[in-house]
Structures are given as structure tokens and as C-alpha cells.
């Protein structure tokens, strides 16, 4: 398999904006890079504007409204030795009367050790705190052009994907998006070297990434919300506020998926979900929150 190397010469701050950065086809594999959420690349050059500049759009030949675009994340890795986080919980994830007790929300530097696969806090503002964590790279932003020709900031998300900050968008996972525009227009960016659920400090460990992915166009396959799978699980993603509504979107989409893709009727789907569903929170920080509805693949087999 040939890999198409793409070196970005511009970035976008909205899903739906920008002329195609590259035209690709069903089955193509692309190797590219992303900058951090403040626009710094792997050499720490400021090459893009804030916030969350994304690489793309990739125009996928043949993808049309009503299709589904599948994107397998073949490789995700930080590509430099540093990253940054904020230093305090976001005000909206604690009790309102506790907000005044939160600390400053300034930024902190971290060292990223790609050989040891760890990140270590490395900032004079926190010189007495030793904190080392294993890397778990993921993409904060992945999605396509929104419906109806909309152009929507990379700070939020919707049916088209976007800034979902879901830890499941990691190497080995395949994400599927509804196609709303000719060519689908895929964007990727906002790599996090590691992140807890919910992105509750308002950032992951933000850094630039090398990203390799492979696209497939599923013709006349229509979905309403992003779906995905990895080796062990299938999942659907809902993006909305409050979390309750994001969960409703994700659960409804999974219910439909179980019928469409696995042939489960309403009863079987309900029982499987009722007894085996897992939920994960992508982010509880951006304008739209993200909830993943998850089923383990071994339950799908047993269920049949």
C-alpha cells in the first residue's frame, strides 16, 4: 500500500472552511501532521491561528451527501518533545459555589519523552510538583464539513464530528462520519498526548502530532452521528448539551446501528444495551459536550 505524504501549508479554524488541501480516493492512506491547539508545529514554529487549527480539508473523491466516510487512524504520535496543559479545573465541572476556590487557569509546560512514552510536568510555575504519566495519544478534533454548507468553529462539535475530545479517537480506531458535502471534507487536529475523560481542565496535553489515516467511502450508507470501532468495541458519539442530550443522541444512534448493521431487533438491542452498555464522556468543556455509547464486540457475538 502506498502512503500519500501530505505536508500541510495551511490550517483551518472551522469545519467546512478552506479549499481542499488534498484530493484523495476511497482506500487511500495519508500521512500528515497536525499542530497544537495554539498553532505550533513539531518544530515549535507558530504556523496557524488559535484555537484548534486543523489539518485539511481532505476532499475524498466520490463521497456525496448521504454517504458515510470511514477514517481508520493508522498511526497517531506526538512529534515533538514538549506539550502544555492548563493548570486548573474548568469552572463548569465543579459545583457553582466551589468555583471561587479553583486556582489560576494559566498554562503549564510538559516534557514529552517519545522513547519512554511518557510525559513529565516541566514548568518553573510548578517546580515542586513531580508528575509523570504514560502517553495515550488521541485526536481532539476529527470531522467533516457540517450539513447545509455551514462553517462551524473547531471549538465545538456536532453530527459532523468536530472537537469531541474523545479518548477513543486513538490509534487503531476507525471513525465514521455522515457525509454532508461533496468530497466529505475531512479535517484532523488537536492532538492530545494524554487526556482524562471530559477534558475537564479545558485541555489535554496539547502538542503537535504525526497522523496517518486511511479513508473509505461507504456509498448510500447513511448515519446521523459519528460512529466508530476499535479492536474490542463499537461506539457511537453524541454531541450536545447537557450531557443528557448527548447521551440520548449516542444511545439512539447505537440502537439504530444494532438494527442496521447487526440485525438486532428492538428487543434484542434493548436487552444488550440494558445489560452491557458502557458510556464514556468525551468532553464536558466545549460548547457541545460529547458522550460515547459503547458495546463490547464479544457481547455482539453472544447476542446473535
Amino acid at each position: 500500500m502506498a502512503v500519500i505524504n501530505h505536508r500541510p501549508d495551511f490550517y483551518c479554524n472551522a469545519f467546512g472552511s478552506g479549499e481542499p488541501a488534498l484530493r484523495i480516493r476511497h482506500g487511500d492512506t495519508v500521512s500528515t501532521s497536525t499542530v497544537d491547539a495554539h498553532g505550533y508545529d513539531g518544530r515549535m514554529d507558530a504556523v496557524a491561528g488559535r484555537v484548534n487549527p486543523v489539518t485539511g480539508p481532505f476532499f475524498v473523491e466520490g463521497a456525496e451527501e448521504g454517504d458515510t466516510l470511514a477514517v481508520r487512524l493508522d498511526r497517531l504520535s506526538p512529534n515533538r518533545g514538549s506539550g502544555w496543559t492548563r493548570m486548573s479545573l474548568a469552572p463548569n465541572v465543579v459545583d457553582p459555589d466551589f468555583v471561587p476556590r479553583l486556582g489560576e487557569r494559566d498554562y503549564l509546560e510538559w516534557a514529552i519523552d517519545l522513547s519512554g512514552w511518557t510525559a513529565t510536568l516541566n514548568d518553573p510555575k510548578a517546580s515542586d510538583l513531580r508528575l509523570t504519566l504514560p502517553l495515550a495519544p488521541m485526536l481532539g478534533c476529527i470531522g467533516v464539513a457540517p450539513e447545509g454548507g455551514q462553517i462551524i468553529t473547531t471549538m465545538t462539535s456536532g453530527p459532523y464530528g468536530g472537537n469531541m475530545d474523545y479518548t477513543g479517537c486513538r490509534e487503531g480506531a476507525t471513525l465514521c462520519f455522515p457525509v454532508f458535502a461533496k468530497g466529505a471534507l475531512l479535517y484532523v487536529g488537536d492532538g492530545h498526548a494524554v487526556q482524562g475523560d471530559g477534558e475537564i481542565i479545558g485541555t489535554g496535553l496539547e502538542t503537535s502530532f504525526d497522523v496517518q489515516f486511511t479513508v473509505s467511502v461507504l456509498k448510500a450508507k447513511s448515519i446521523r452521528w459519528p460512529r466508530g470501532e476499535d479492536r474490542f468495541r463499537i461506539f457511537t458519539l453524541g454531541n450536545a448539551r447537557p450531557l443528557d442530550q448527548a447521551l440520548q443522541h449516542a444511545t439512539t444512534e447505537m440502537f439504530i446501528r444494532l438494527n442496521e448493521d447487526y440485525g438486532f431487533d428492538s428487543l434484542a438491542s434493548s436487552l444488550l444495551l440494558g445489560c452491557a452498555v458502557k458510556y464514556e464522556i468525551g468532553n464536558v468543556f466545549d460548547p457541545a459536550y460529547t458522550v460515547a455509547c459503547i458495546l463490547p464486540k464479544d457481547r455482539l457475538k453472544r447476542g446473535k
Copy 2:
């Protein structure tokens, strides 16, 4: 260690109600049983009223308002060969316009195989559906008397615990509750042989249980929301609607816990949570929803 055997002769349908069923002391281990959510015991006798009759209250000598009661779940097991679930997703977990497409919400019977540690759907209403799942027993209801002398139905939850339907309330876990009344008044019940996150069909696999637990009184240790831990994780539980608020309660309590119990300052707590927190949804069905805020214990060590 002596185990106190308690055979219930009554059940309660509200937290805070009932004369003490048994007086116990700090360190005591109690072996008792619980009935299913409709009041049927291990012999399928209807011995209690709907909904969610709980065993107790256990009056813990010396526990006073402002203390914390710790309850280690030493053993949890279904004690009969059958259980039941509902047969459709609850209306509040799908998109509002999808509700009319949900099926009937009637009950279905399951066979429980305690030697094989599985449950198998076993109902003439669904004779063509084969579904077998491994058991994962948990308590849907566990808590103490609510604050201020309140008496609150076992259909909901609050700072005192209650009907949280959290899969983490399983064998080996220790749950801690704020003590609001003399003797704490502990209740347990609503055993689920297995349940997905969120209890989204409105039930787990409901059945009667044998339950063994050990209590400790933490004097002058004051908490605001239920906390817990198991071998690998610590967690805090928030109970409220919407999920956003439950998450705020749980996150705030974890933030405080990291300071109080582990000596982390605001910065260290924020970074740990930001990079390593996990959230799980207890239930998204009862009047108050439940969110667990979780940290892996190995992160607590690294963090120091």
C-alpha cells in the same frame, strides 16, 4: 472474625424509615439477604412491597452526624435461579422524537446459573432470542438515613446514597457515606445480577441476593457525597439531574478528597484529574442521575 447472621423480617421502601433492624458496631461483619425490586425473596415469596424494598436499617453504634460510615461489600451473590428485566429502553435515554419507536416496556424472565455464573433470557415472550451474559452482581441501593430527618423513597438518591445503580457497588468495593443521623442507619438492596451503565432499560437483571458487609465508623471524618474504592480505583459519586450536575458534585468531592486524603494541592489535583480521570454513569433513569468520578490508584502513587 465472627459474622453476624441477620435474617430480615421486614423491609423498607424509603431511606430514613423503619426502626433499626439490627444494632451493630464498628468492625462488625453482617451476613444478610435482600429481595428483588418487586419484593420477592430467594424462595420467590413476595415478602415486601414495591418498589425497591431494602434490608435494614442497620444501626451502627457510635456513628453520629458528621462522621463517615464505611461499608465494605465482602460478598454479593444472587441467591436464586431467576431474575427479570424490562424489555425496552426507557423513554428518557433516547431522542424525544424517537420515543414512539421504542417497544413495550413489559418484564422478561431470565434464568440465573450460579455455578456457570451466567444469566440466560428465558421468557416465552422472547422465545426466539438467545441471550446469555456473564454475571456481574452489584447493589442498586445502598445508603444511610438522609439529612435532617428526611424519609426519601428508595426510587431516588442523594448525598446519603440511595438508588444509585452504580456498577461499582460490587463485591470487594468499599462505599463511604456521610452520617446524618444517630446510628447512621444503613440500608442495602436492589441487587442486580448484571447491569449496563445507566440502567437504561429502567432495571438491571433484578433478583434477590445474599449480601455480606463490614462496617467501620470514621469519627469526625466529614464527607459531602458518597465515596468509594476498590482494588484498583478510588471514586466519588454525585446524584442529581441533569448528568452535568451529578458530574459537578462527584468532581468537586474528588477534588476535595485528593486534598484531604492524599495531600494533593489544587494544582496537583487539577492535573491528575485533567489527565487521568474516568467517569462512569451509575443510572440515567431514576429521578436523580448518578455519575462516578474515578481515579486509578496507580496514578495516585505516581502523583506523589
Copy 3:
């Protein structure tokens, strides 16, 4: 019409608690008094405990589960020359990141002029602020014993009414409550001399009241949520979080009411509500928020 004079000798801090303070009958009119939210009466004597001590319960002969209790508020008036408010917005009614900019939440004294029917800020902590407002007395707390024998603090609300802080609970209005317990057990209290929508500083202008009301028992008339009416409007009240859910409860109850009480079918009810409904927010401060769904009476006539 004879008026029964009732001088309270105790107060309750929970709906559902307390032995009957007085037994009354269908059609009886009672004149009584209420203390302020901190337990101070018309002579500024501290006669009850915090928070929101209520007068009652009034046991209404013949009221049984499944009936409806109607309470007409014949007269509501502050009965002393002073009251108090908090001095800052509550943290939960502003944007989370704005919370640190709110001021202290301490208390302020006001002078109440019953002849001029005004209240004037009168506190050394705010000596340079002149603020005079017309009185608009209302009851913050009104309700009956909750369902299933529950005892629930006067700090929140539910299907039984409670601490709804709805400005529509004013002189001339009639409130209806579902009866959940023998005798209904009516409580009144938490008078506010004036209050904006939502009780967004966490208090109204809190003071003690003289209250006169008349009860009716509607036998075999079953409602699910508090209903009411005054000269110009009918309304239903939903109590829950978030506001969306409170609004759902109130709207559903109004939809049912239009059918049951006015004979409108689903289409007529939908169109009337769609074109003429008004919503008001009772409180957006207590654990359960309150939304009123309102229709003007003249629309009900036109609709027929």
C-alpha cells in the same frame, strides 16, 4: 363565613413531618401566621429552626390519596415592619466563569411599610444605596405531604408542592395539590414581601406573614402536579432540574388539564398552547427548580 383562628405553637422543617396542627374540613377558612425563613415571627421572636419552617400541617377531614386539595389564598400580608434578603446573585444563575466576580452573599435588612405598601433597603452594610420597591406578597412554601410517606425538607419541591417560590402563589390565587396522605396535610410558609422571578439571590424579601386560606377537597379528582388559577389565568407547576424538565412536567400537566377540565382534544390543546402559552420561572435556586405553564382565561373561552 366563620374563620378559624389558628395560632401556631410549632413549625415544621419538612413536608410530611409533624402531628396535625389543626383538623379542618372541606370549605373551612383558616387565619394563621407564618414565620420567616430563619424562624422569626411577627414580633421578631425566634420561634422555629432553620431553614424555611412552615406552619401546619393542617389535616383536612375526608381528604384521601387520589383526591385533590384546593387552597384559596384569601389574604397574604407581611405582619411586621422588617424583612431581609441576601445581597448577591446565587452562583448557579450566572455563567460558571463569572462566579468569582459575584459579591458576598451576606444578609441585608429592609424596612417594610405596610401602610405605604413598600419595602426600603435599610442596612448599614449598604447605607449609600437607596432602593424602594412596592410589596407583592407571595408564599415561597405551600404544599402537602409527599407520596409514599416521604418526609422531605422545606428547601425543595416536588409533585406535592413545597418550596416553589412562585410569585403566582399570591393573594387571590387558588392552588391545587395531589393528595398523597390521609388528611392531605397542608403546610404554608416562607412568605416573601416581594421577589423577582427565579429567586435568583437565593431569597425573596423574607418576613413573617398573616395568612388566610380556604380549603376544598375535590374527591376522586386526581392530578399529578400542582395546579392553580387566579382571576385571569390558569397554571400548572412542574418542579425538577434542569428547567427543561420542570417545563416538561408543567406542560404535560397543562395538556392533560385542558382535556380533563376544559374538554379540549389533543389538537385544540396543542394549538392553544402553541399560540398562547406563557411560562414563568418560580425558582431557579432550590434543588428542584419550578416552572409555571400558564394560559390566560380569555383564551380558554375563545378556544371553545
Copy 4:
């Protein structure tokens, strides 16, 4: 005063899209027309695509990012003899388990009598229902280009205004919007001949309108959310889900406005709001809900 007559020759389905339809200046008054939510104009010609086509954008010379655009609604009137509504409550405004009891959500025709200033149901699908309502014309959509070059569907709303469906957007009111783009780019449309709070059937009485408005540019006056006023009231508008968050936005903006525009400090603002605020719900149907935070003007005077 000269009035600029503008006859639209195209319509937009997104805020931020389209070349300027007309360039106007500070102080200009424009007389134009809008089509109904399905694109039908005053002659019942289908001239625009669904949903919510809006007239504009009007490029206001001199308006720049960081300014405020004020739009006085000089005249609003339906301009044809018919309109339409949906025929059932929307699923999201009733209790989830009540949804299956709602009727069809089809459309119904109404006759509009401009001389009598009433609307009367006039549809064979509901021939036995007589329903006549007074007109109360309002604009469902009014706003400017969103921040950051976004293009956002006219089905939702945000800081830029949009599809707020607020009954307060009526003749005589002035609306103010933050300017995010050169020329502000004002759009108007989605006229409702009458509508209840919340647009809870998912439509107002939809029809085409004649609209006359006057613009002012407030240089270097920065606001965060739409503001407005009419003869008796000032208001701020928050757009978000759930209602709680929309209310937080509107309340925070009013709190800031009281300081900036009226010189009230934090204490005075809190007390005024606490004792005199009114809330109204614009819509509780679109992706973002709308809440208005309102103060009567006579309270502003007393407060000083």
C-alpha cells in the same frame, strides 16, 4: 426621514452566508419583506429554500468587530391573508413517557385578517375546531454574522442572535447585537403572526411579513449577547441548552449591562434582579433554547 425600499431578490438559510443584499449606513431606515419559514412570499410564491430563509444580509457601513449594532423594529406586519402552524406539541416539551400520546405533527392552514388583526384556523383537517386569536407579530429570526467567520444555519441561535423565536422581537422593540464581522451583516426573517412562549409546537403562526427597521452602530461598545428594550422594559437574551444555561447567559449579560449602562454596582444589580427580574422563554424547541432576562424600566429609575 427617508426610507430605503429593499425588495429582496435572494434569501439566506444561514447567518454569515451570502453577499450583502444592501449596503446601509448608521441611522438608515429600511423597508423590506420576509418570506415564511418554508420560503413562500406575500403572493404565496415559493421563492426560497427551507428552513427559515432570511432576508439580507444588510451590510452596515462602519460596523466593525467589537461594535454593537442596534436595530429598531419600526414596523412588523404579516403581508398576506394566510399562514400555517404545526398541529401538535413538540416531543421535547412534554415528559418523555408522554411522547407517544402526542398527535400528528402535520401542518395546518390559518386565515389572517389584517383589518380585524386576527388569525382563524382554516383547515379541512380540523374543520370542527373554531379558533381565533389576536395577531401579535414578531420576528423568529434576527441576527448578524457569527464570530470567527462561521456560517450557521437559521435553525439555531447564538451570541449573534439567530432563530430565537422571542415574542419580544416585536414592533417598537430595539435589538442590539455584538458585531463580529465587517459590516455586521444583519438578517431578518421567520415572521410569526402570533406565537406562545417557547414555540412549543415547533412553529409560530408562520407567514410572510413586511418589515421596516432602523439601524445604529454603537462604536467601541462591546456586548456578549443580544440585548434589547422596548417602551417599558430592557432585556438580555441567552441562547443555549439547557434552559439553565440560556438563563445563565442572559442573567450574566444583564448584570454586566446594569453596571455598564446604568452605573449600578454589584450589590444594587443583585438586589434589583433579585426583587424585580422577569424571565421569558423565547424558544424551547430549536437546537439552542432562548431565555430573556427582563427588568421593567420603572425599576431602573427607582433603583437610582
